[in-house]
Amino acid sequence: MKGFTTLTSVALRLPQRDIDTDLIFPAQYLTLPFSANYADFLFRRLRDEQPDFPFNAHINTPANSRPQILIALANFGCGSSREHAVKALLDWGIRVIIAPSFADIFKSNAAKNGLLLIELPEPQVNFLLTTDSPASYSFIVDLEQEKITFRDQVIPFFTSPFLRRCLLQGYDEFDYLLAHFPEIKAFKKQRERQLFYTTTQQTFIS
C-alpha cells in the first residue's frame, strides 16, 4: 500500500449526500478482474448520463495530473461493501475525500487501500464546497500535522492513530495480523469449544 505524507491538489466537488457505491462503481462491472484498471468505470452511469458531471471535465487529463481530492456531502460511500468502489477512485487518481461523514464499510475499505478519508463538520465542508473560485485553488493536505490548508484557512482534522501509522508508513494490516498469529492460533483452539459444527473434516493447520 502506498504511503502518504502531504498532498497538494485542486479538488473536485460533488455537493451531494448519500453517494452510494452503486453510483461509484455500478454492479455490472463487478465481473471484471480486480487486476484491471477501474478508472473508466468510476461513476460510469453518472458520467454517461450527465455531460457536466465534474469528472467529465478531466476525460483528457492524464491520470497523474488529475485532481486528487474529492469533496462531498454526508454519508459518502453508503450501500454495498464492494471494495471496487475504493479501487475505482484510486485508479482514477483520487487520494483524499473530504465529507461530513462516511459509511462504515467504505471507511474500512478505504483504510486498507491508502485512500484518506477526512471527516469535517458540515459547515466547514459547505464552505469548501461553495467558496469562490472553486476549481483553481489548491489544497494542501498534511497527514502528519493533520491539517488542510486552503487559501488563507488552516483546517485541522482528526485521524485515528492506527490509520495514520498505516498511511504514513505504508504499514500493512495483514502484516499486523500475521505478527499476532501465535496468539490467534491459541485463541482459536479455545474457541472451538463454543462452536458446534465443522463444514469439512479438515481442521486448521496448527
Binding site: 454519508n75 461493501s81 499476532h180 458446534f196
Partner: protein
C-alpha cells in the same frame, strides 16, 4: 464501576483475541461465507503471499450474484461471469472449502442458505464480502459485511482488524397492523433515521413484537440494518431461534445440544446494559411502506403524500428533489396508484418460503395486470423445492409470472436479469439506488405482499385489503 453488558458487548468481548489502546481489536471470526464476486481478489492475495487458507472448516462457498437465473443457468452468456464461477470452483476445491454448487440441492443466495443449513448460530461472528451479511444477526450472531482485503485477512488468519462499534438499541413498541410486515417495519425505521442514521453503530432490535415474528421475518429486519448505516444488527436468540436450529444439516449433534443451548441462552442483554444511543419506534399506526426516492431512507407509507423538498433541510431537500426527478414523482402525491411495469419477488431480504407463501396467497387464481412483467426468484434450491412441493410455482406461473432459478437476480442487474431503461419496478429487494436494477430504471422497494398486490393491479397498491379478510 461494573456495568451491564448488551448482547453486542458480550459477543464482542468473547471474540477479542488481542487489543491495544488506540488500535482496532483483532476479532476472531467463526464463519466466513464466500461467493464468486468478492472472493477472487482475496484468494489471489492468499496465493501472492503463499499463505494457506487457515480454517477451511469454518467457511463455505456458493454461487449467487453473477449467476443467471434462467432455466439453462449453467451456460452464462457473460464470459466474465462464467470465469468468476469457474474460478470459485477451482479456488474452493484447492483450499478445501465446501462449495454448494448448482444442483447440489443447497445452492442459493448466501444469506438464505446460511440459516437454512443451520450454519448461522447464536453468538457467532459471521462475515462475508456482502453488506447484507447483517441478515444473520437474526440469530443473535454478530454478522457484517467486509471488503475484499478483509476477506483475505480472514482467509489467512481467521480474524479481522476492526474497531469496536457503538451500540444502538432500537425498541419496537406495539403490534404490526394486518397487512403490514417485517419489511415495512424495518423500512419505517430507515425512513425515520435516514440512510446514514446508524453509521458507526451496531443495532440491537428489541420489543415484544419480536417474539411473535418468525425467524424469516427477523432475517428481513436484520438484513436491512446496513441500509440505515449499521454494519450489523441483531436480535437476541429465543425459543423460536432454538426451535429453528433443530434438525438442520449443521445443527448441533444430539450430544452437544444441551451445551449449545446453555451457551445460546446466555446471549441476551443485561437489564442494566448501557447503549450509546436508543431509539423507539411505534408500530401501531404503520402502513405498508414503499420507497419513493434513490435510497432506502426515502420511503413513506403507501397512502402518504410525498414530502416537499422545500420543507426539508438544504442537502436533504436537494437530495429529495434530485431523487424525485429520477423517479418521476411529485411532492404531495401518494405512491398508491403509480403505474408499474415490473414486479420482482426475491432477494436475500425477501426470497424465502414465507415471502413466497404470502405473495402466492394474494395472487392465487389471479393474473398479472396487462403489460406487467414479473420475476419470482426463490432464494435457494431448498426454497425452490419447498415452494414447488406446495404448488406455489403454479400460482405464479398461472398468474403470468416467470418462475426462476435461485440467485440474486434482478436485485442488482449484474447477471442478465435487469429492469429495462425507463421502466418502473416494484421489488421485494433492499436497495432503490439510482440505476440499481438496470441503467435508467426506477425501483420502488416494498414488502412481498405489496409487490404481489401491485403486480396484480398494475400500479403500486396496498395489500391490506387482502388481510382484512381473515381467510388469508
Amino acid at each position: 464501576m461494573k456495568r451491564g453488558k448488551s448482547i453486542i458487548d458480550k459477543i464482542w468481548d468473547e471474540h477479542v483475541v488481542y487489543g491495544e489502546p488506540n488500535f482496532p481489536d483483532i476479532l476472531a471470526v467463526d464463519l466466513q461465507l464466500l461467493h464468486e464476486v468478492t472472493s477472487p481478489p482475496a484468494f489471489a492475495e492468499l496465493d501472492r503471499r503463499g499463505l494457506p487458507f487457515f480454517e477451511p472448516h469454518r467457511a463455505i462457498a456458493t454461487l449467487d450474484h453473477s449467476l443467471p437465473t434462467s432455466p439453462r443457468r449453467h451456460l452464462t452468456s457473460d464470459p466474465l461471469a462464467g470465469a468468476q464461477i469457474v474460478l470459485l470452483r477451482r479456488n474452493s476445491a484447492r483450499h478445501g472449502v465446501p462449495l454448494f454448487d448448482l444442483n447440489s440441492g443447497k445452492q442459493g443466495i448466501v444469506h438464505v442458505i446460511g440459516p437454512e443449513l443451520g450454519l448461522t448460530q447464536p453468538g457467532m461472528v459471521i462475515v462475508c464480502g456482502d453488506s447484507h451479511t447483517s441478515t444473520h444477526g437474526a440469530f443473535g450472531a454478530l454478522a457484517f459485511g467486509i471488503g475484499g482485503t478483509e476477506i483475505g485477512h480472514v482467509m489467512a488468519t481467521g480474524c479481522l482488524l476492526i474497531s469496536r462499534p457503538k451500540t444502538l438499541k432500537v425498541e419496537f413498541q406495539g403490534d404490526l397492523p394486518a397487512g403490514v410486515f417485517a419489511k415495512d417495519l424495518i423500512m419505517a425505521l430507515i425512513a425515520a433515521i435516514g440512510a446514514g442514521g446508524a453509521n458507526g453503530h451496531v443495532i440491537e432490535y428489541r420489543g415484544a413484537i419480536l417474539k411473535n415474528l418468525s425467524m424469516e421475518a427477523r432475517m428481513t429486519i436484520c438484513n436491512m440494518s446496513i441500509e440505515c448505516g449499521a454494519r450489523a444488527g441483531l436480535i437476541a436468540p429465543d425459543d423460536k431461534t432454538f426451535a429453528y436450529l433443530q434438525g438442520r444439516q449443521y445443527s448441533p449433534a444430539l450430544e452437544d445440544r444441551a451445551r449449545a443451548l446453555a451457551y445460546w441462552q446466555s446471549l441476551s442483554s443485561d437489564t442494566d446494559a448501557i447503549y450509546d444511543r436508543e431509539i423507539t419506534l411505534k408500530l401501531d399506526q404503520l402502513e405498508p411502506m414503499v420507497s419513493w426516492g434513490t435510497n432506502p431512507g426515502q420511503s413513506i407509507g403507501i397512502s402518504q403524500p410525498l414530502p416537499d423538498p422545500d420543507d426539508l433541510t438544504s442537502d436533504q431537500g436537494e437530495a429529495a428533489a434530485a431523487a424525485m426527478a429520477h423517479t418521476g414523482l411529485l411532492p404531495g402525491q401518494p405512491l398508491a396508484g403509480v403505474a408499474i411495469d415490473w414486479a420482482f419477488l426475491g432477494s436475500c431480504t425477501n426470497g424465502r418460503i414465507e415471502d413466497l407463501r404470502i405473495a402466492a396467497a394474494i395472487m392465487r387464481g389471479k393474473q398479472l395486470a396487462s403489460g406487467v412483467k414479473m420475476y419470482v426468484v426463490p432464494g435457494s434450491e431448498m426454497v425452490k423445492k419447498q415452494a414447488e412441493a406446495e404448488g406455489l410455482d403454479q400460482v405464479f406461473l398461472s398468474a403470468g409470472a416467470s418462475w426462476r432459478n435461485p440467485g440474486c437476480s434482478m436485485c442488482l442487474a449484474m447477471n442478465g436479469d435487469k429492469v429495462p431503461a425507463g421502466r418502473r419496478a416494484i421489488s421485494s429487494t433492499n436497495r432503490n439506488f439510482r440505476g440499481r436494477q438496470g441503467p435508467q430504471s426506477i425501483t420502488h422497494i416494498a414488502s412481498p405482499a405489496t409487490v404481489a398486490a401491485s403486480a396484480l393491479a398494475g400500479k403500486i397498491s396496498s395489500p391490506r385489503e387482502y388481510f382484512f379478510d381473515s381467510q388469508l
